[in-house]
């Protein structure tokens, strides 16, 4: 009688369909596991994880100031997350959100500096248009070779980020530098009419409304319109799209234009609502964090509102723990952990993990 049993202890079996419970459960568990991993690192460095987390949470959501600041940080993440989700829905890997934010900021600044004396109802719409156009066109540059030659957009969009950031650097160090700015790499402040209105005495600005309205519009476009239907079909199955007579190349360009335009709006809103001028490094990587925001919700535009708030809170909480001697980099670590567990969670959605008992079953 042989007792060797070659079945592995853990095996993955394909599941028929992800259950709706899992759709909610996986992101929640991912957040929990990311916190747990972070806790282990904190404990290893001699910090009390529970204390750090509670400082973080209180810093982010516990006070009125913290909460409003979290919302302020959430706005660019919300806008950029929405922009990226549109492209990701079509399996276009736009990693260029950061560059498109910078170009959107560039476009908006140009208009703000060009029209210093116009009323707000002229300047703000003009800045939004210019920001969206600059971000959108920046995304069209990699879209064209992708559409007609199949050039990998991951690389090209990523590379263009550096170009966009350096372009803004050039402007703020060079031609657009504020003569009264003590040589800081900043442009002059915008005029009153180039600044988005805020809510009460908080720093929360009208960009939040733009983001929420856009989230609803994008949701409706994706799930209720012909255009959104085409995006979903092309994303899921390019072969079926071609078979149904969809023009994929043209759609790639249009979708990248929209994606970049919404990211561009994120840049415009950040400048017009928060910094009130173009300055070097005004975005601490919103375009990259937005990738995680979009994926955490499985590209659901309405879910992005909540995910953006969570990530905005993490940024603010990160500042809060810095006071306690914990490096703010802990936030980057948590974000990385989150993405890791969300992607890992995908496996749980599509597969059933079965743990095999080792009982011998041969009765020969």
């Amino acid at each position: 009688m042989t007792t060797d049993n070659t079945r592995s202890l853990i095996s993955l079996e394909k599941k028929l369909s992800p259950s709706p419970v899992m759709n909610i459960l996986v992101p929640v568990i991912s957040v929990f596991l990311a916190l747990l991993t972070g806790a282990i690192f904190l404990a290893l460095t001699g910090k009390d994880p529970i204390q750090v987390y509670s400082v973080m949470f209180n810093g982010a959501f516990g006070t009125k100031y913290g909460l409003t600041e979290s919302i302020v940080k959430a706005i660019p993440l919300l806008l950029a997350g929405l922009g990226l989700a549109v492209a990701f829905r079509m399996q276009l890997w736009n990693i260029g959100g950061e560059g498109q934010i910078y170009m959107g900021a560039f476009g908006a600044t140009w208009l703000a500096l060009l029209l210093p004396d116009q009323p707000a109802w002229v300047v703000l719409p003009a800045m939004m248009l210019a920001g969206a156009a600059a971000g959108g066109l920046w995304a069209v540059i990699p879209a064209i070779p992708r559409a007609y030659l199949g050039v990998n957009e991951i690389i090209t969009t990523l590379m263009l980020n550096y170009v966009a950031i350096l372009w803004v650097d050039y402007l703020v160090y060079g031609p657009w530098k504020d003569p009264a700015g003590y040589n800081f790499p900043i442009t002059p402040s915008f005029s009153e009419s180039a600044i988005l209105p805020t809510f009460g005495d908080t720093r929360i600005h009208a960009g939040l409304l733009i983001g929420i309205v856009l989230a609803i519009i994008i949701y409706l476009i994706i799930f209720r319109t012909k255009f959104g239907y085409e995006i979903r079909v092309i994303g899921e199955s390019p072969g079926a799209a071609r078979y149904a007579g969809m023009n994929i190349s043209r759609k790639i360009i249009v979708v990248m234009l929209i994606s970049g335009a919404v990211c561009g709006l994120a840049g415009m809103a950040e400048l017009s609502g928060v910094t009130h001028r173009l300055q070097q490094g005004f975005s601490p990587g919103y375009g990259y964090t937005a990738i995680i925001v979009a994926w955490l919700t499985r590209l659901n535009p309405l879910g992005i509102i909540i995910a953006a708030l969570l990530f905005g809170g993490m940024q603010v909480g990160g500042f809060a723990v810095q006071m306690n001697g914990v490096p703010a980099a802990v936030v980057s670590m948590l974000q990385g952990g989150l993405l890791f567990f969300v992607l890992g969670g995908e496996i749980l959605m599509r597969y059933r993990v079965s743990i095999n008992s080792c009982r011998g079953d041969d009765k020969a």
Binding site: T6, K14, L16, F227, A240, R242, A244, G245, M246, D362
Partner: protein, 507 residues
């Protein structure tokens, strides 16, 4: 008593939602050809993949020449003398025949003795009549020759038990006969041969014994003298099968589709269609027969606008449609059941309603820029009941449907467009007998309604059963057009291999 080459006991293998193999028993004697007969999805391939070491059974034991084996990988199976010839060949295109055969079995020596290997292979090949040049590169070979290389590979590794998964699917009738002769010779040498098939005729032709699988269970093992076609069909399907579907005479009308000297490239920019001239009339099913890879796919794509026609012209209802966009061609009344139903004909991850809208979302389901989901749902419900599709949730991904239901959903959509022309490519590939009958009935109904149908199939029986005329495609040309009433299997087989048509065929 003769020692069994293979004994499998209580083999059980579960996949989520299906019991692919349920307590299966199978034995193979040296010197016999054992057929494994069953419909698609009956568990034949799972069982053989277990035997070849690709899957591990959940429960069950295997004995080879009396000793128990427990395969951890295909290599264990090969070492135990089990050789498998897969349906899709696993050969390196840029290597020679000899290099492919010794691949993985050259031992630990650094230097290959190519000349010696070629010599060995030549001997082995001539012994069993498997004519193939060891120095030829794989890409130069025909499908039949590639299959011989796969068989030689198994023999070279010393397999006494040879498994062939649906080996005749890609062969002409003549090549099939030759293969069967070769297999018989190998069996006479004391090897055991297992052939997987779903074709009753093949069992009648060469089986020494047959094991019939149905829904994961081995329902019977019969000896040569116990086999009748009727019993086998009954065992395989679990009910009586009507073999001939009545084809009513149809009044052919005007030419709906006309191709004139059409040429097109394949995906590798090599010529795939080299001057196809043919026509399909109203109310006619025109079958395209041919060995796979002779331009069938390109023909369907060039007609439906998915591939560029490099020269020649295509007319639909006397209007030129050459190189119009797929969208325009769809609008002119061309429906298409593509070869790849998942991923081309249907979108696997979207629901049935979204899939039903695929062709009509621009017009019949559009309200301005928005989609009319209410109308699409109502239409889906109606098609589901008209076509008898088993569907539990219209919003669940269609990838959860069985092959037969998928194809019915696809046909339902394409037929609901009331096409002038229906291009159906391998419409029953992978379907079980029941679903095949349904698809055939639907095609005949469509023909009775006056639709011109271009039927591309690899199954000659299917073509004979349904078509009014058959065009044989060979190397991108229609090598001959035969009226099915006068058709002769032998002649079509010759045309499939490139022989020129002799005499005037009545059209």
């Amino acid at each position: 008593m003769q020692e069994l080459l293979l004994k499998m006991k209580q083999i059980t293998k579960k996949f989520p939602g299906v019991l692919a193999n349920d307590n299966i028993k199978l034995s193979v004697k040296p010197g016999e050809i054992h057929m494994l007969l069953g419909e698609n999805g009956s568990g034949k391939s799972t069982l053989m993949n277990i035997l070849a070491g690709l899957y591990k059974p959940d429960i069950g034991e295997m004995y080879i020449k009396g000793s128990k084996v427990n395969f951890k990988s295909p290599r264990d199976a090969i070492n135990a003398g089990v050789g498998m010839v897969h349906q899709h060949f696993k050969l390196v295109d840029n290597f020679t025949v000899a290099e492919n055969i010794i691949l993985g079995s050259a031992g630990t020596k650094l230097k290959l003795n190519a000349a010696q290997a070629e010599q060995d292979i030549k001997l082995l090949a001539s012994k069993y009549g498997l004519a193939v040049d060891p120095a030829a590169k794989i890409w130069q070979l025909s499908v039949g020759e590639k299959q011989r290389v796969e068989i030689l590979k198994a023999l070279y590794k010393g397999s006494d038990l040879l498994i062939l998964d649906e080996p005749t699917a890609v062969l002409t009738p003549q090549e099939t006969r030759e293969l069967f002769q070769n297999l018989r010779q190998m069996a006479q040498d004391g090897r055991g041969i297992v052939v997987i098939t779903h074709k009753l005729q093949e069992v009648m032709d060469i089986a020494d014994r047959v094991t019939v699988l149905r829904a994961g269970k081995a329902v019977a093992t019969l000896n040569r003298d116990e086999i009748t076609e009727k019993d086998l069909a009954w065992l395989m399907v679990g009910r009586d099968v009507v073999f001939q579907q009545q084809k009513f005479a149809s009044q052919f009308g005007v030419k709906v589709l006309e191709l004139n000297e059409v040429q097109a490239m394949n995906d590798n920019s090599r010529p795939a269609l080299q001057g196809v001239t043919m026509d399909v009339k109203e109310g006619e099913i025109f079958g395209i027969a041919g060995v796979a890879g002779n331009g069938q796919r390109e023909l369907a794509e060039v007609i439906t606008g998915m591939r560029t026609c490099s020269s020649g012209s295509i007319y639909l209802d006397n209007k030129k449609i050459t190189n119009l966009s797929p969208q325009k061609i769809i609008r002119q009344g061309v429906s298409h059941v593509p070869e790849d139903r998942m991923g081309t004909g249907l979108i696997p991850k979207l629901g049935s309603v979204d899939n039903i809208m695929l062709k009509g979302y621009r017009n019949s389901y559009a309200r301005g820029p928005f989609l009319d989901y209410k109308k699409a749902s109502a239409d889906t419900d109606k098609l589901v009941s008209d076509f008898n599709i088993k569907l539990y949730d219209p919003s669940a991904p269609v990838s959860l449907l069985s092959g037969g239901n998928l194809q019915k959903l696809l046909l339902a959509r394409e037929m609901s467009l009331k096409p002038l022309l229906l291009v159906a490519v391998y419409p029953v590939r992978g379907l079980d007998v029941g679903a095949t009958e349904t698809v055939h009935r639907l095609l005949l109904e469509q023909r009775a309604r006056g639709t011109a149908i271009l039927l591309i199939s690899e199954d000659l029986d299917e073509i004979f059963k349904l078509s009014d005329r058959v065009g044989v495609i060979f190397e991108g040309q229609i090598n001959g057009i035969i009226n099915t009433e006068h058709a002769d299997l032998e002649e079509i087989g010759l045309l499939m291999m490139g022989a020129k048509q002799t005499g005037d065929m009545p059209q």
